[in-house]
Symmetry: C2
Subunit: 693 residues, 2 copies
């Protein structure tokens, strides 16, 4: 048995401070085989190692040298926040280093074939990190300020355009990267830079009467949650206070009162999520951090209310959020378009980051339900299977005849974006993914498993009879619903609780405990049996005096299913979606020759069948369904027809002419693939929601 790694609470995002009040605490987890391991391997071997060259080619590193005065030339990039591409890449690289501690101190990997074996390329990942940190440090002004756009292009005219300048936003990502670097390596090179900048900000910004010259906020939240993390990493309470100041000053018109900038209404008074989706969610993550660290019950209630408003009325089936291309913002309740779903990849990431904080704070399983859904669908669709191409927006439909004008918001995957916020954001989430898997209960008497991966989870049972706990999970999830958990280490004779999340989508499951001879329960549980207490809140609690060798086998029913939406979601009236387990499925044009997708009708009377295709898209289980193509409607110039008049039902004004192609009613076999895998083959139309008549 390999040596247990240290608890990831020490090395991942969200380390709780000493005064934090939560239901759950981060625990350690590993991912060493299976679905997410494969995706993380691609991240470690392709996406992250290619980062430095891409940042060099796009000019981000050049801009740092310009700011440092070590090179000459034109500033590169059209946005004032291009520094964050560097910072997010650094954060990703640091979480990656945390999994391969040898890399952190030795640029030559000792075991390049190891299970999380990134190929750091010449010089190694750690060397790249050190080199780029040095560029960042060189660019910093002596007083701590750092922003290449303003230093190079704006003659250091600081904080005069807080609405669009993104200076504090950039500071936030710098701080996040520095916290990651410090947690992963123990090094302070970047943390020192971040603290100097944070200290500088703390001398500039503050409420009227604070003695600080500027009472202001940034148009793009991010510094708030970063400052909480800096507080957690350093113990300096003034960073937490500064975070609180920024959070509370949103919504008071300091930026003109725009919802886009999260300035229309104070967070505590907000009724729903609104404005630019990423900005809203980064701000809410910070609010949850503050509620966590300060035991602010009102702020907690606000975050619970807004999470409910988002999830119940403004979230796509994929977990994606953000209905509008224009302003990248949330729409109205139940305004969830398909082809114009914005669902920015960064917004999916922000939703996951916020929901994780909510899961820790409240202990409720639904937050990890949403994380699961978003991870497998709205988030993962953002990166190609080969890790080299990206989607900025993640629509749920691409029409037949779609005209794609390219650009960042294309429905075709792109090597890198002009506004390259998403790719390094995906990298950092994937590199730190194991931190969203497992927690310990705040009372110290249990371990909870939030996400089903293959790997080794570690926690600590508190108390006199406590000690380390190690549970090994093995699963081929999401292709197979069986998860086998083996207790590898347990602290003695006292009972503790192993809690398993029964996903919200799961209608039935079975659990078997192979423990010592006196315990052999074997239950089949129905999700909706209200007497079935173990799963009523989504958690299946198994309290035992666990011993090494004890096994739990959880079998989740992965029968494919058809899903309908609340009837107020106008965009999908009369449609269903195919789902299986946590996966949302879609049809792609490439699998359906002989016609477009927009004429296809799903015949619900036929069943759904599964076919696992190891050859397809890196290995996916497809869902086969039966449909037919509608006859082509009216060939006239006007696409609307009278269906009923005062005199009763009438014929169509333009009756459908005969057409070529399959006759209506002739069955068409439909092959649905997981949504995350779309747009990895020939481009063409795609649909998640399928009409049923």
């Amino acid at each position: 048995m390999p040596r247990t790694r240290p608890e990831s609470s020490a090395t991942g995002p969200v380390r709780l401070g000493p005064d934090a009040r939560t239901a759950l605490r981060p625990a350690g987890a590993g991912i060493d085989a299976g679905f997410w391991h494969t995706r993380r391997e691609v991240n470690a071997r392709t996406s992250i190692p290619q980062g430095p060259d891409l940042l060099e080619a796009a000019g981000n590193l050049h801009n740092l040298r310009l700011a440092a005065g070590t090179t000459k030339g034109e500033y590169q990039g059209a946005y004032p926040f291009v520094d964050t591409d560097v910072y997010k890449w650094l954060e990703a690289a640091c979480w990656q280093l945390a999994q391969q501690p040898s890399l952190a101190s030795d640029p030559t990997p000792e075991d390049p074939g190891a299970d999380s074996g990134a190929d750091p390329g010449p010089g190694g990942l750690a060397a790249d990190v050190d080199r780029i940190i040095a560029l960042v440090a060189d660019a910093q002004r002596p007083d701590g300020y750092l922003n290449t756009w303003f230093q190079v292009r704006k003659g250091d005219q600081r904080y005069q355009d807080l609405r669009w300048g993104h200076e504090l936003y950039c500071a936030g990502h710098l701080i996040q990267a520095a916290v990651a670097h410090h947690r992963a390596t123990g090094g302070t090179a970047l943390l020192d830079v971040a603290r100097r900048f944070a200290d500088h900000i703390d001398t500039v910004f503050g409420a009227p009467g604070s003695g600080r010259p500027i009472d202001g906020i940034d148009g793009h939240p991010e510094v708030e949650t970063a400052l909480v993390e800096l507080y957690r990493e350093t113990g300096e309470r003034r960073y937490l206070d500064l975070a609180g100041y920024f959070v509370e000053r949103h919504g008071h018109g300091l930026l003109g009162g725009e919802a886009y900038c999260q300035d229309r209404v104070p967070l505590r008074a907000a009724a729903t999520v609104e404005g630019h989706a990423v900005r809203q969610l980064y701000l809410l993550a910070a609010a949850t951090d503050l509620a966590t660290e300060t035991a602010d019950a009102e702020l907690r209630a606000v975050t619970e209310r807004l999470w409910h408003a988002m999830t119940s009325t403004k979230t796509h089936l994929t977990g994606g959020v953000g209905a509008h291309h224009d302003e990248e913002d949330f729409g109205d309740p139940y305004e969830l378009p398909n082809e114009r779903a914005y669902c920015e990849t960064c917004a999916a990431i922000a939703s996951i980051q916020w929901s994780w904080r909510m899961a820790l704070l409240t202990g409720e399983a639904r937050y990890s339900d949403l994380i699961e859904r978003t991870l497998y669908n709205g988030f993962l669709a953002g990166v190609s299977l080969d890790g080299e191409r990206w989607l900025y927006v993640n629509p749920l439909q691409v029409r037949d005849g779609h005209t794609d004008h390219g650009g960042d918001q294309s429905a075709r995957r792109t090597r890198w974006f002009r506004c390259a916020c998403c790719p390094p954001n995906v990298m950092r989430l994937l590199a730190g993914l194991e931190h969203y898997v497992c927690t310990t209960d705040a009372d110290g008497r249990g371990l909870r498993i939030h996400q089903y991966v293959t790997g080794r989870h570690t926690g600590h049972i508190e108390g006199a009879d406590g000690g380390p706990v190690v549970v090994r999970a093995e699963t081929d999830y999401p292709w197979d619903g069986t998860i086998t958990l083996t207790v590898e280490e347990a602290p003695g004779d006292a009972p503790w609780t192993l809690s398993l999340r029964v996903p919200q989508w799961c209608r039935s499951y079975r659990v078997r405990c192979d423990t010592r001879p006196d315990h052999r329960p074997d239950h089949r549980h129905d999700r909706h049996d209200q007497d079935d207490a173990p799963a009523a809140d989504g958690w299946l609690r198994l309290e035992r005096t666990w011993a090494p060798g004890d096994k739990v086998v959880l079998e989740l029913d992965l029968a494919p299913r058809l899903t309908a939406a609340d009837p107020r979601v106008d965009a999908v009236r009369g449609c269903v979606a195919i789902e299986r387990g946590p996966l949302v499925y879609c049809l792609e044009q490439v699998d359906h020759p002989g016609g477009g997708l927009d004429d296809i009708v799903l015949d619900t009377a036929h069943g759904l069948t599964l076919r696992h295709r190891p050859d397809l898209l890196g290995g996916v289980t497809t869902v086969l369904a039966t449909g037919h193509r509608r006859s082509a409607p009216a060939g006239g110039w006007w696409p609307y027809r009278t269906v009923e008049a005062a005199g009763g039902t009438v014929e169509a004004v333009d009756p459908a002419p005969p057409t070529g192609g399959p006759a209506p009613g002739e069955p068409v076999e439909l092959t649905a693939i997981p949504y995350y895998a779309w747009a990895n083959r020939r481009s063409g139309s795609m649909r998640v929601w399928l009409p049923t008549s």
Copy 2:
């Protein structure tokens, strides 16, 4: 009988040149009572007279003085095209003057109570026009160039930002205003300014090898069709040639190849309409003008193809076009969202202007069918009933719980916009509306009535037995389907054809001719009887030797009807719209207390009934229908539910809890109002398309 006015072909938009080849030619028409007369009275008495003060307040006139050097101060307005607000207002005022010729020469109206009696305010409309024309003339550079943005803000750095600068776009609207002024008043003060600018442009722009320094186009088409009109007004062929040059140079990458700027593909190679809707349609109007004036059969075929593509796949039920807020552009085929319908008021106007040119060119009734639909719905919704407030975008739905952030694109009417393109555009179309009503046949043997208004239509029958024709139309359309036409003047004993458009929406009609005793046909026609030749192409042709006193009574069936869309219009699957005659109807929240609109289901088994409400919204016929409110769906945190799984149909995961409010199934009386009249009362939700289950 009042004296017959001159043919409006002399005073309206689109006067054909001597070489034009068309099926129809503009004829004269008047509108002196009824629906459109009321709307035009508001335009003449409120909207147009308020223009100068609004242009003064917004700074447009100040900018002209700045450019002339007659005042000092800051440039006003954030866009380089604010001059066009002035030009479009001038065009509107000139078409208004054309109806009140006394105003053109005398600032004191002799008969302020006359039927088209605008209240021109102190000094009169003609004086306002003269005063503002003088400001425009003063601002012009000696070489003919005129653009206040570039003269005042950009140090006369001309034509260096053709993609965004709008210099030729502004020139186009100046030329259109000058043509209107000359046609309306005979004056040349503005025409001289416009010709100097056009002549200057003709020295600057041209194909490589032409000797002109710049081979370029403007990002926003408009100068093209304006130059054709200038050719028509002056007879100078080089203006037509210059228009042709600009039209043909679109789509060759001169502006980077963006669809937004109509630069992705040459028009002759285009398969569908795309990019910014107003830009596309202004360009297509110019292409139709060129096909008309040069008998270019290929270009005609292009315009017919693109009109069909627009109308059959990219037009909302209201006639509105433009699916996307982002880039204000056309979407994909059948991408016709409701709450996010952009349907800019200017795009409706552009569609009408283009379709009119197509109607003249081809003689086909469907172009006037679309004009009618757009006029009564997508266009007219753009102005409030009192003529003082405006909509820039015209959605087909405003949701319950809609958050309106205000601004130009608000769903609430606005006094004036930051980008004030729409209000003066509405004014100029309404002021010139009679020019879209009536034509003569190109062979000189008939008169065609395109739109049903109360007024006097005039034409000329050609040939030895020809002479003037006057037909008086009386109708309470669109509230009543009876149109009575009385021949007041006819040229002798030879037969000619009075053609009446039988609207595309009309399923049955009756026509009675009270002519001399030997003609008393009385037919009831069924629209879809293919043997009924008179209406097969939408034109009911009545060939007679007409004599004064002959009457034709056309009765169009105005039974209210339910309309469904092509099933590829995903946005309205499972929904119908209520229509009556040319009017699209909608529900407004204010008429449906006790709950929102998004839970309402229309019960199609119940009939539709009419109730005329002279008290409501200036007098409208409402359509009453019956519906019910759905029970509130699942109260859980996730708005999607499993409806069927491999094991068969299953219960909802979250069964609907009991709710307050009306029980489902309890009938709710629905009151539908004409769409054009929405947003004139308390703001709230609105729906055109209603779910039926």
